[in-house]
Symmetry: D3
Subunit: 169 residues, 6 copies
């Protein structure tokens, strides 16, 4: 069945066991990845966060952004098959939109492998930090989706999530 060939999982060795894929033969190219994570906090909490963001700088959002930056640098420690990467830059945007907080993270590096996981981990940890800071007001708050919006660099080149109105910056 051709579909089976399609879903080849490169993190599994031939005998089915996990391994950290050898990227030594890949060229070093400029990599970029953008991911986002949402936290559905509800309107009451969103209004509280927005108010902070209006009068001041919004410490919940600043805390989440810093947690995201730190987490990006911990990616290879957290995700077993990730390679350590010398990240060149991390930008995190955190906005309150209706009942949700949306974190968007862009990571860039020159590397033999992509920085998708760095962006995904950063966005997710940023969102979990928002959850942590608002959970006393709403344990039921949900985190997600966490998803890749765009990537550039490497053999597979540029990829942008379809149908989301996401325009690469």
């Amino acid at each position: 069945m051709p579909r089976k060939r399609k879903v080849k999982l490169t993190h599994l060795a031939r005998d089915g066991s996990p391994r950290m894929v050898n990227v030594g033969s890949k060229p070093v190219t400029r990599r970029r990845a953008v991911a986002e994570a949402c936290v559905t906090v509800g309107r009451a909490i969103a209004s509280r966060l927005r108010r902070e963001g209006g009068l001041a700088k919004g410490d919940v959002l600043v805390t989440a952004r810093l947690a995201a930056i730190s987490a990006a640098k911990q990616t290879a420690t957290l995700i077993p098959m990730c390679h350590p990467i010398a990240i060149d830059g991390i930008e995190v945007e955190a906005v309150v939109e209706g009942p949700r907080v949306r974190l968007t993270v862009e990571v860039s590096a020159e590397a033999r492998t992509g920085v998708e996981m760095e962006a995904m981990v950063a966005a997710a940890v940023g969102a979990l930090t928002v959850y942590d800071m608002v959970k006393s007001a709403g344990k039921g708050v949900e985190v997600g989706p966490v998803r890749l919006l765009a990537k550039e660099g490497g053999k597979s080149g540029r990829w942008t999530r379809a149908g989301d109105g996401y325009a690469a910056r």
Copy 2:
């Protein structure tokens, strides 16, 4: 407005800046939290993962479970306002359900503060690990929702997510 009082965020000091809340005056009680995280991998990848899970032990799922356990122990490093907690136990279940992988994490401890974040972080990192291992077959795969299912212990006592058919174990 009474709603404002409701959404008091305990991680912010009176001057609006973040702090790690002092839990020193809270009693040590038995704490338990259960969280889940889903990864919508699509039917082709799910079928591949299920096949592994049928014939063997499912290395993607085992890898995700181990990543979840390790991440739970890194919670206080990742989430700025989390207290270091001496976790007593971590159980992670990973199942393939239709087009999704669902990780359910239960964390327990005797502590002055809850272990909700430990369970949330573990579930999220487990799900991100699944994403990492299948992303070569589907960059568009989404992680989420990550959410608390239940908690026990502490002043606020037992809480179970409503309307989800989740029965505390």
Copy 3:
């Protein structure tokens, strides 16, 4: 010479080599320590930081405060002879005073050993973070002094730095 007996260093074993002192026979008591660290940034940078702090929340200072909180939790990893401690609370204050930024950190825990190093490390790393964020504007900026202001708990009881007008909170 009696003075020699006075400066007995408890982190050295009888044969002169370092060890992590066994605190197992000490009682668990409530511990508190306050430390401060200054960064002499000069008037131009101080004015820039103060302006941020006036109109908004002061992101350099918020970043420094969060870095201090995270560092406190890394103390046992950074300082070879420090015991891992389940910290109960961390509060960090960051103010601009004349040409200086002053970080004051209070750490509390119930433990067999003190939390002086947690407070000292947090204050120092907070100050280094300020340095990092202003160094493009002034490489010559100096960090220090980093010093203990007060401690409570344990056999030696309460101690407050003399002659500094520091009043225990």
Copy 4:
């Protein structure tokens, strides 16, 4: 006022929030930074440390040097806006001078960004380690100043602290 333009802080995004500056467009150059940190331990403790240093190797000083080396490698974890850097070498000198211990740290790397923070963090943590090991004999001991002595590499080139008699090695 022209001075305001001078104190532009590169770690803040245009909207005033922190970010990890993208260094991707900077060339890789050889970088070197030297920082120092002092600990004013007083004459009694200094004499004890000097005696160790005379008859043997001085375990307090060796411990401080090793803590400094380890800390340099943790810089990107401790300082939120620091880039992970593949450090090429770290040398730490620790000497007792009058009533003080002075740690001097030199860090080198080939990188797109400087290693000032690696040297500053290493020196500070080395000094805090000295504090930790002597604090039973003197809680009032002060750490500081921690300061950059010299740097080389990158667009801004060589810089040496003025007026200190410090000669680049």
Copy 5:
């Protein structure tokens, strides 16, 4: 076959997958574990290390001891199923015996689970550090055995390795 029942592995859940065993129902008791690790460096290197150890303090051995202490505190990060434990004390002895370096590590804590792994990890990392420092002089040097010498505390009580002439301290 009764032997099969004997080799029940408590770190595997009923379905055969790994988990961090819940120790919440075990009492907190005083725990102690002693482990050792050897490095067979050969006579030439041993003589060099012994000479250092005679005239001075032996920096290779001090470095190994400090690495062992730090590693003990990283045990729960390194060994997937290990619980985070608030270690009370760590002592490391490093001696040169004939062609070998022997590290002996004693770890103690009050905990619900044993500290065997903390002692084993510390001894192993100390020995690997010796290997690292002498490998330029002998890549073929071997590390091992790493083994438990004694343990105390918990349900299974005191255990001492038989037939080795090891006397509990």
Copy 6:
């Protein structure tokens, strides 16, 4: 005596104190190292592990392999004088041979210094993880030897352990 010159230890500075050797002047070359670590578990446990390995995937062995991969990435944190290295690939094989489990780890990178320690640390931590998971069934189980089998790259070029029948892959 010429032998003394032979056992020059490059991790010690001229004054006998440890340092992280400056590798900045070495060329970047492709590096590879293979190490192995054994755990003598005895026949009863080996049979239990082999059975798992026959019917399923052997969760003890998978856990050990993942712990090895994670540990390789922690090498510069664990071993004081090790340089942080951007590892390109890690493969771990775990087999049950008679009464022993043998882990073989291959690490590769393009770097100024070798990856021997990454392979050694990974193999050792993998073996310690096996010990952790079987110790309830056999506290007396021994870990070792941990040893380098082969290395490539750098000035000293290719090296293969003699007399072991080890053939470089």
